[in-house]
Symmetry: C3
Subunit: 262 residues, 3 copies
């Protein structure tokens, strides 16, 4: 894959079209995810009222669903939005805390029955979606074997006809037929909250301009983790990360990307 | 109008009295709006429980209602608070996303039936309140003609006996009899989330110390957009904006203000 | 008390074990509190759905309950979580706005019937819990006499078998038998929102690794207020505070601590 060429085109499209990314996400991440979406060039909308979701989703170019602070009303919001988007615009699912509670695992599994373009979580959350127990502590992953993750992500993506993105020291991205590994980023991404949630917003933004969800997922992971690298020497990492997302381009990714097909 | 003289007095009052500004606002903006309120010198309170709203509003010096992430419970909260405040303390209404969904347009119109001192939105949201369709995409404005906006804001303010503030490259502020244009600010204000919401908090703070809502609206727009200018060269614009709001004074506004009566 | 020795051990434990701190907190503070928890070395979880609270609390090492933006559903969440945690893991209660409304005062009093390890609020909020009226304006304290606060905190902690932390220019920490005063910090902590809420997260983190809640409370207040001092010369105080929390250690506290037993 010619990642640099894809990124050059798709970043230009994003910054020209400013596509709407509808977010149903958690309270902790809302502000950071809105800023990350703006930084990469798209326009965030956040709404959850049942009465207006279909109208808003019909104007959006992609839908992000993140279950981080779910409750009954919001679970219904997720289903209404997913139903309205399914088959019309790409959907990204972020199963935050899947594996930590039955409610989260079952909600994530039910949402996987819609046409989900990309499902993205940390190793533990993603393994929970293939039935593994004890992979998650709170919202942190306890899993570590990248080989197992690769195998399971191939299966997961084939079963649900989706692209699986499992984030860890090595990020694993698979549509079941092709699997890519990205070894970029910085431990500092684990030192701020909403780090994974912002990655979701960046991938969802690429989904709005790139029809191949595997390519969009790779673009998103590459742009975000390399922005993290560029920001990692700044004391105020969190803000530097947003600045770096504003300034990310194909050249910067090209210079630093550690992408491997496996 | 002697804007500098007004600002000198009202900023001093704000920083001395620290008036309570009750906020019913959206999840995305809550943290930023609380910080903007503190930065300009007032004290933010955020609460939405029906059982305590009347008690809290009775202690506040101004009420801000922002419909950005509304749902049924919160719409009721907005009505309870507006009813408690109406005729007693000034109310600012921020109709985020009016025009994007029927729920938002109708909620904003219903809230306009209370005694609203200032209603503030982007061009598209404000035109939606006078019945224009297709002026909004998500929470972004599609409108552009400042002449139309001026005409419609005169009408809107007369019909609802309020001050209308329509924000765009040129900010339009009208009470129906007098109309002012402010051409300050920076495109960077559009690059961060909650930017318009923070302006609402700043205007609501001025409403707490300035009886003439037209003057308060002009003070708020001037202080905020010029703080934006002062912050615009910093990489971490979002934080620099809050710093600049702390340091804004009549002199800085006097040097930079581009205010025109039309 | 040998505060430096305690801090050296407990900071090392925190950063090694990364204990889960379950938060039920307010919308304004969620993001800042999550970042403060990560900065001091623990791992934040935020969830409020009744169906999953018992599962999540059973995996946590401490529970923080902050009533800042309470409503009926969330009050029930607080009770479910407190009931699950009571007697098993330490609980910190932050009675934000107690005294400002009947709902807040009564909710805080009801939550005090669980086994609360630490209750922490500003002078006004804490005096409201011993029946004083008119001590609070919005979420700001109107109280000022440190002598009265010391007396009342001794009583409060004895009555409820808890550690009382009353924050102000002088922070008062008492378990009824021993009472300590800390005179550190900076007025800048009052210039940002969620400042007190972040202190709650830091104390709750120490509770997860230090069995004596009086020691944990002193450690938390010392680490947080001294991080504030170290950050106070930075323009972007809010971010510098998080950076300083990451870098706080026993030596830095030892050099600056102003701790007095009374």
């Amino acid at each position: 894959m010619d990642l640099e060429r894809h990124l050059e085109r798709d970043l230009a499209k994003l910054r020209e079209r400013r596509p709407l990314i509808h977010h149903i996400t958690n309270y902790v991440a809302m502000n950071d995810s809105a800023n990350a979406t703006l930084a990469i060039g798209a326009s965030p909308v956040m709404a959850h009222a049942h009465a207006e979701l279909r109208e808003l989703v019909s104007a959006a170019s992609a839908l992000l669903i993140n279950i981080g602070t779910l409750d009954d009303y919001w679970i219904q919001s997720m289903h209404i939005a997913a139903d309205a988007a399914s088959g019309k615009i790409p959907i990204l699912l972020d199963p935050v805390g899947a594996g930590a509670t039955k409610l989260r695992t079952s909600t994530a599994m039910q949402l996987l029955s819609y046409e989900i373009s990309v499902v993205k979580g940390n190793y533990g959350e993603m393994l929970s979606l293939v039935g593994e127990e004890n992979a998650v502590k709170g919202v942190d992953s306890l899993a570590s074997s990248v080989e197992r993750v690769i195998d399971e992500m191939k299966d997961l993506s084939l079963i649900h006809e989706t692209v699986a993105v499992a984030t860890g020291e090595t990020d694993v991205i698979s549509d079941g037929k092709e699997t890519y590994l990205i070894r970029n980023g910085t431990p500092k991404l684990g030192s701020i909250t909403a780090s994974g949630c912002m990655l979701g917003s960046v991938i969802a933004s690429f989904l709005a301009v790139q029809k191949n969800p595997l390519v969009a997922a790779i673009e998103g992971v590459a742009a975000y983790t390399i922005a993290g690298e560029l920001a990692s020497e700044e004391r105020s990492f969190r803000l530097a990360l947003l600045d770096a997302l504003v300034e990310i381009d194909a050249d910067k990714v090209g210079e630093r990307i550690n992408l491997e097909r496996c």
